[in-house]
Amino acid sequence: MAEAESATERPVESTDTEPDEGRVTFTLAGVREGFITGFPVAVGVAGYGVVFGVIADQAGLSVAEAALMSATVLAGAAQLIGVELWADSVPMATVVATVGIVNLRYLLMGAALRPWFRQLSPRAAYGSIFFTADENWALTIGKLRSGSKRGAFLLGSGLVLWLLWIVATVLGVTAGDFLATPEQYGLDYVLTALFLTLAVGLWEGRESIRPWLAAAGVALVANALLPGEWYVIVGALAGAVVRMVSHE
């Protein structure tokens, strides 16, 4: 617990948003709040579940196989890329390795949850971390940063996303071609709008300017130069490094 001390002593101005030791809960109320808050976001994600179902169908996966993948992997971009590679007869080990690379950003997201999740039991923390997706991770971080003590929010918002993701996958495999145009309903913009909203909540004033500019700039360059989703990792690390360098 010594590390918790240094966390609270940090000379960051927003001390009110720091978790107090031992006060993060893991309750049904937290699950429920996450579930309800996560619902509209999960609907947006479900649009991509349908797309995944269609692509899984084209790749020759059965309904059961596609649903099993959505239920156990729960990672949109990784599933899409994995199934596409699989359809191109790429060897299994290569597909799995690629999936790991696509998912590397989760390492950073999990690390960012630590100040709150280290106060939960390992079972609660490592159980609910399975339900991490980009969208509900962002919702959860926004919630916890604004002072919520509900550690079960990730699980609740992840559960609703997980359920709709599986249902949408099945829908996509069986009836997909009619539904598979998320752009038509503006669903492709849900993730952007969500992240913009969260950025407003995470903004800490002048303190944020330099790390955020670094993150945005490096992400843009990386997006142009590197394949896949490396830009998220490289950009986010650049932001963190800028803060670390300027830290006194």
Partner: protein, 104 residues
Amino acid sequence: MSNALALDPTVVALIVGMAAVTYATKAGGLWLIGRIDLSERAEAGLDVLPGAVVVAFVAPALADGGVPEWVAAGATVAVAHKTGSLLLSLGVGVGTVLAARSVV
């Protein structure tokens, strides 16, 4: 061949592999960062990580977009800033992008 409930052992093996590596990345960050003793400097970096991840996500998405996406981004940020309501800012963002795309 396409029996809806078919479970090809090779495909199941692929799914198990994908699920395992995905869980490893999700749990790995939490686990790893709990194992090392972080300096104050590293804590400060960790502190800025959520915002940095969000910005790194969104910047290329906006750069790849066009006028409708930018207008909608402005509307989303304005509503989020004014109301703090996620539902409202999502609705306005998606509604604006749809409306703007039909115009542009």
